[in-house]
């Protein structure tokens, strides 16, 4: 009996000691860890394109749908040209950041990842200028190249596609109501947008006049049109008067039923797209972005088109986009940079744009004609809006705190739509929250 007790005590003590030893050490790395890959001079390394035969590259990817097949085609070509094998790893967008952080933490980052935000991994990325030269960023349109560059001037994320927020309209419903559509030369003012959308809604007995995705990005579009942004290069930048005008406009639209209050509140804490309402012909005007073109081309059973963004204080939409990043701690950073370079060459960007309705990020394609398989005019509307979108909108989207700020905007605007606070209180809450978020990401 005593032997059992001793054994049990010994086992528990050993187990506890082992567990304590395992848990007592600091998890992950420390904030003082040196920055990997930093310090190499631009152009100090070269890519040996002949030496990739038999090498393997992990490419972590998330898909919006039509881009997957085009990506696979390009990967096939890359494999043929270089002899390297590309292991395409598709994961849901919601899991992208935690997956990459976990892989970096365990010393097993992929060679390349397609990301929307690269700042969380900045210390693990290769400055591609090291291999591709100091002038490489100039191959891309300036605001997107700036969005991929860190404060020290390192080009860590190569812009792979550009997105532009903008409205879609149900053309059949507009025609039935006898209401004219806006044009690039004569875009809507916000008052005209509301008036026309309401007239079309009433004429066609639709649920609401305007639908906007439940997204901080989309609210930022309206803020930009009313003359302000959440952030700029120096941090929080919201102009309270302009923001108040923008939010009052939205709040009035919810109050009058022109925008569905239910849609914003029923989605809880998650992002929600209003595309289903548009596809069900329950709303004549839908504020979203060019990534919807592919699925509308496939699924819409009515006439629709993209139209220029409405103007208030200023015109244009709000940009977004994805970047290709090469990881310095991966097994083959050289191959990673080669792949990022190859995927962003003119021919490859054209192929992706044509297959997946993307807007290219290369400077030489900014004005070039892209042979989209369909919906050329709709894509032209989005591309035209890129030209008139203010530069501070690009800067706001590129700010490291934009993701947190956008989440905060959704929470506060939802509270306003629910009647818990007025636009002035909402602006104040957003101002304070964005300032805190910007403070947190200060280097």
């Amino acid at each position: 009996m005593r032997g059992h007790t001793l054994l049990r005590t010994g086992a528990i003590a050993t187990f506890s000691a082992a567990v304590l030893a395992l848990t007592a050490c600091a998890p992950g790395g420390s904030d003082d860890d040196p920055t990997p890959g930093g310090g190499a001079e631009p152009g100090s390394e070269t890519i040996d394109w002949e030496g990739f035969e038999g090498e393997t590259l992990d490419y972590v990817y998330f898909t919006d749908g039509p881009d997957e097949a085009a990506t696979r085609d390009l990967i096939g070509q890359f494999e043929e040209e270089t002899g390297a094998a590309v292991n395409l790893q598709i994961i849901p967008f919601a899991e992208l950041e935690q997956t990459l952080q976990a892989r970096i933490n365990s010393g097993n980052p992929p060679e390349v990842a397609r990301v929307a935000q690269w700042y969380p991994f900045a210390d693990s990325l290769v400055d591609v200028r090291t291999y591709l030269g100091e002038d490489y960023p100039e191959e891309f349109i300036a605001p997107q190249a700036a969005a991929g560059t860190d404060p020290e001037g390192r080009f860590l994320a190569v812009p792979n596609d550009l997105t532009m927020n903008g409205p879609f309209v149900n053309v059949d419903a507009f025609e039935a109501a006898g209401v004219e559509l806006p044009t690039a030369d004569d875009p809507w003012t916000w008052d005209q947008l509301v008036e026309d959308a309401t007239a079309v809604q009433e004429a066609n007995d639709m649920e609401s006049a305007i639908a906007i995705d439940k997204s901080g990005h989309r609210v930022s579009t309206v803020l930009s049109q009313f003359g302000t942004t959440l952030l700029d290069d120096d941090g929080a930048a919201l102009d309270p008067e302009m923001a108040s005008a923008a939010l009052t406009e939205l709040n009035d639209l919810v109050g009058s039923g022109a925008i569905l209050r239910d849609f914003w509140l029923e989605a809880g804490s998650r992002y929600a797209g209003a595309h289903e309402q548009f596809l069900a012909e329950q709303v004549p005007v839908y504020l979203s972005g060019n990534w919807q073109v592919g699925q509308f081309a496939e699924n819409a059973s009515f006439g629709w088109s993209a139209v220029p963004n409405a103007c208030a204080e200023r015109c244009g939409g709000f940009p977004g986009g994805k970047f290709l990043t090469a990881f310095s701690g991966s097994e083959n950073p050289e191959l990673a940079v080669a792949f990022v370079d190859w995927m962003n060459r003119t021919e490859q960007q054209v192929a992706m744009a044509e297959a997946a309705y993307w807007i290219p990020t290369r400077a030489d394609l900014a004005e070039a004609e892209i042979n989209y398989p369909d919906r050329v005019e709709d894509m032209a509307a989005f591309r035209a809006d890129v030209e008139v979108t203010p530069e501070d909108a690009f800067a706001a989207n590129a700010h490291p705190a934009f993701g947190a700020a956008a989440t905060l905007v959704v929470e506060e605007v939802s509270a306003m739509f629910a009647g818990q606070q007025d636009p002035a209180a909402t602006v104040e809450a957003i101002e304070n929250g964005v300032a805190e978020a910007a403070e947190l990401v200060q280097p």
Binding site: L22, A26, P27, G28, S30, Q98, I104, R261, G403, L440
Partner: protein, 315 residues
């Protein structure tokens, strides 16, 4: 083994017909290892994937990280931050209301249903199976189905209510109503399971007790109060403990049903931990601190239930 024992054992001739004194085995050899070896694989997995992560969560709660990768020791800083956060207390309040409502409703409804089913003469098994079906459906699917059914304008429930003149309540739009909805959907999912447990408890009550009571003239109500419920108490305690743990862990169907909305009214503690952990910016330290607090609360609630049950048994 002592020298004296050794010399005695060594002196006995091998061929002696007399039985040698039993050799005292070393203590470690007297332990029966086989049972430990049988449970070892399971315990190793349990230790690696449950115990270690749980203890490591406590360790993590002492560190701060803005990316889930680089950590700085902050001592009890995360606990201070979380306990002074308005959002956390709002989540805690919603969680407590949800747990209390769920446990009370589940226990009462499962007991009532089990007694009603037990009194059935025909179709008992079929009915039990029917009530059990929602428990077999994926909670994510349950959430999505109820979400569609409860939509204000186009949902099935409001279409029926509107048709009979009861209007279109905002089931997923009014904070209190939505909290009620997630309690009732939770009850709908779990009722069959807990009814089965209570039914097993009912089967364990000797029928001769009821026969004796009937002969003594006890009414149905008196039998219920004086025989059924007292003898069911240990089973009900199991239901209370299990439903408390389940309620604290509730996440999946709520996430797909209400997404924690409207305005965070149905964001319970597990969703709070999930979003703090895995949504940008990743804050493992804060989430781990919330996890430790959740563990302490669930452990305390279970301990109180257990001790209350023991005291009743002693009486």
């Amino acid at each position: 083994m002592s020298n004296r024992q050794a010399s005695t054992a060594g002196a006995a001739p091998a061929s002696s017909p007399r039985r040698a004194a039993p050799k005292q085995r070393p203590r470690w050899r007297s332990v029966k290892w086989a049972p430990y070896l049988f449970v070892l694989p399971n315990m190793a997995l349990f230790g690696a994937f449950t115990i270690y992560p749980a203890l490591n969560a406590f360790n993590l709660s002492l560190y701060s990280s803005s990316d889930g990768r680089r950590f700085t020791y902050v001592g009890t800083g995360n606990y201070s931050q979380i306990l002074s956060s308005e959002e956390f207390w709002s989540v805690a309040r919603a969680t407590v209301i949800f747990v209390v409502a769920t446990v009370v409703l589940t226990t009462v409804a499962a007991t009532a249903l089990a007694i009603a089913l037990n009194a059935q003469r025909r179709g008992k098994g079929l009915l039990r199976a029917a009530y059990f079906v929602p428990f077999l459906v994926s909670p994510v699917v349950v959430g999505l189905i109820w979400r569609l059914a409860l939509e204000r304008q186009n949902g099935l429930v409001n279409t029926v209510l509107d048709a009979i003149g009861l209007g279109q309540p905002g089931w997923l739009l009014e904070p209190r109503l939505t909290l009620g909805v997630i309690v009732l959907v939770g009850l709908w999912i779990q009722l069959g399971f807990y009814t089965l447990i209570i039914s097993a408890g009912l089967q364990g009550i000797d029928s001769s007790v009821y026969e004796a009571a009937t002969m003594d003239g006890a009414t149905w109500w008196q039998q219920l109060r004086s025989i059924t419920l007292p003898l069911l108490l240990p089973t009900m305690l199991v239901v209370i403990v299990l439903s408390t743990i389940h309620a604290f862990q509730a996440f999946d169907y709520i996430y797909t049903l209400s997404g924690g909305g409207p305005l965070g009214a149905t964001t319970l503690i597990v969703q709070y931990i999930y979003e703090t952990s895995f949504q940008s910016p990743i804050q493992f330290g804060l989430a781990a601190a919330a996890t430790v607090i959740l563990f302490l609360v669930v452990f305390s609630a279970t301990l109180i239930n257990y001790m209350a049950g023991r005291r009743r048994e002693a009486v």
